[in-house]
């Protein structure tokens, strides 16, 4: 029986690959947009802009204080009430983007704050304007602190993308959920699902560890 189910599972493997592609697509899109939102928000937050800073605070706290599943439900079930009907894929990308953006905002603003203020002051004294200071002095140094947790956040993003399977995105987890209805061997089916996630996440985790080792932050005598 076990062997029979295994053969069945091998037959459905193409669907798992399709699901994996969906997982990669959803998390890849949200990764790009979440990084853009996160960096913008993080720079604004670190620059202590009066009103915007408070708003960002509310946004980040909401995203960090509530479960991602609840955020997905809010976007998928409540936005239509306000006249914004999204299909599952767009809702998933929107939810993941906003979610990742909040965490990346924290990482980026933390990284910028960690650069000693003397750096920025020296750049100001040299006559660089705000953009030049950010672009050529602060951000390059902050990247050392930002990069390792950023990659770690990408791993979380791929893993959290499994949650959007509940609103009907056919990612690996949902394919597994469908398959287990026909092949009632949960260990085998979700073992495969886990393996596919592992293939994506493990290299990223290793990369994060490598970066952490290589980019030991050392601001020297400042």
């Amino acid at each position: 029986m076990w062997l029979y189910y295994f053969q069945q599972l091998v037959h459905t493997f193409p669907f798992f690959l399709k699901g994996l592609w969906m997982t990669v697509a959803v998390s890849g899109l949200s990764l790009i947009m979440g990084t853009m939102i996160g960096f913008t928000a993080g720079i604004v937050r670190a620059s202590r802009v009066p009103v915007l800073g408070k708003l960002l605070f509310v946004y980040v706290d909401f995203m960090r204080g509530t479960p991602f599943l609840v955020q997905v439900f809010i976007i998928f079930f409540i936005l239509p009430e306000w006249g914004l009907q999204l299909e599952a894929f767009s809702a998933a990308v929107l939810a993941l983007t906003l979610y990742a953006g909040a965490y990346i905002c924290e990482i980026v603003s933390g990284g910028i704050t960690a650069v000693p203020p003397g750096q920025s002051e020296a750049a100001k004294a040299t006559g660089l304007n705000w953009f030049q200071r950010m672009r050529h002095v602060v951000l390059p140094q902050a990247m050392k602190t930002i990069l390792p947790p950023l990659v770690g956040q990408y791993v979380l993003l791929v893993k959290d993308s499994s949650v959007v399977s509940v609103i009907g995105v056919t990612d690996v987890t949902r394919v597994g959920w469908f398959t287990v209805q026909r092949i009632p061997e949960g260990l085998m089916v979700f073992g495969l699902v886990g393996l596919l996630y592992f293939v994506v996440c493990y290299p990223l985790i290793r990369l994060a560890n490598q970066l952490e080792k290589r980019l030991r932050v050392d601001f020297g005598g400042l």
Partner: protein, 222 residues
């Protein structure tokens, strides 16, 4: 937005939400206790001199960290019955959360233990303290100081992760939101209230964490 918010219905469902919050609290509490046990064991295994034990614990930690909780939850939920183990849903949920969080706990505890430098232990030995005294007065207080803040952070993650238990029909806070959505077609009332209650838990845990950090200021090991 608020004029469309039906507070009377919320009042009707308030007992349900409170029950859900209580369920979330005890489910997370039990899982946290389980995760601490699993984490300590896995950490002990990881630091063990026996190669096999260390490799096994390492494989467990890496496997958990590179797959999503939802896949692990389904793995147990659909997989345990095919092993002949039939648990009530909430027990499967607690098991999954403990195993998942335990892997992260193991890494946190390991960092804490390794942060106490060997010199500290040698010095305590030189004073003539025995093993228990060394642990009680030298190693543990220093390790705890480093360990408690990330442990509380992990506890916050655990509470939020427990929302996924609603997907295997365990009654908790998110499930309460789903119930009001399906019985009254009021997703806004359901999920915003759910989110608000999660935020309450989040802030309570965060306040406790910062209170603790203020109380325990330890000398950072060199």
């Amino acid at each position: 937005m608020l004029e469309a918010f039906n507070f009377r219905v919320l009042l009707d469902y308030l007992p349900l939400f409170l029950k859900g919050m209580w369920a979330t609290a005890w489910l997370s509490g039990l899982s946290l206790a389980g995760a601490l046990v699993v984490g300590t064991l896995a950490c002990g295994g990881r630091l063990s001199r026996f190669r096999l034990l260390s490799a096994l614990a390492g494989a467990y930690i890496e496997a958990i960290r590179s797959t999503p909780l939802l896949a692990q939850l389904y793995f147990l939920y659909f997989g345990l019955p095919s092993l002949g183990v039939r648990l009530p849903e909430y027990q499967t949920g607690i098991l999954a959360l403990s195993l998942n969080s335990g892997a992260y706990m193991a890494e946190i505890i390991r960092a804490g233990v390794l942060s106490v430098s060997w010199g500290q232990i040698e010095a305590a030995m030189a004073y003539g303290l025995n093993y228990f005294q060394r642990m009680r007065y030298v190693v543990l207080p220093q390790a705890l100081g480093v360990t408690i803040p990330p442990l509380l952070g992990q506890a916050i993650v655990l509470v939020k992760d427990s929302a996924l238990l609603s997907l295997i029909s365990v009654f908790e806070l998110t499930r309460a939101g789903q119930i009001i959505t399906s019985e009254r077609f009021m997703p806004a009332e359901g999920f915003f209230t759910t989110a608000l209650l999660y935020l309450l838990i989040y802030y309570a845990l965060k306040a406790f964490s910062s209170w603790w950090q203020k109380r325990l200021i330890f000398v950072q090991p060199a």
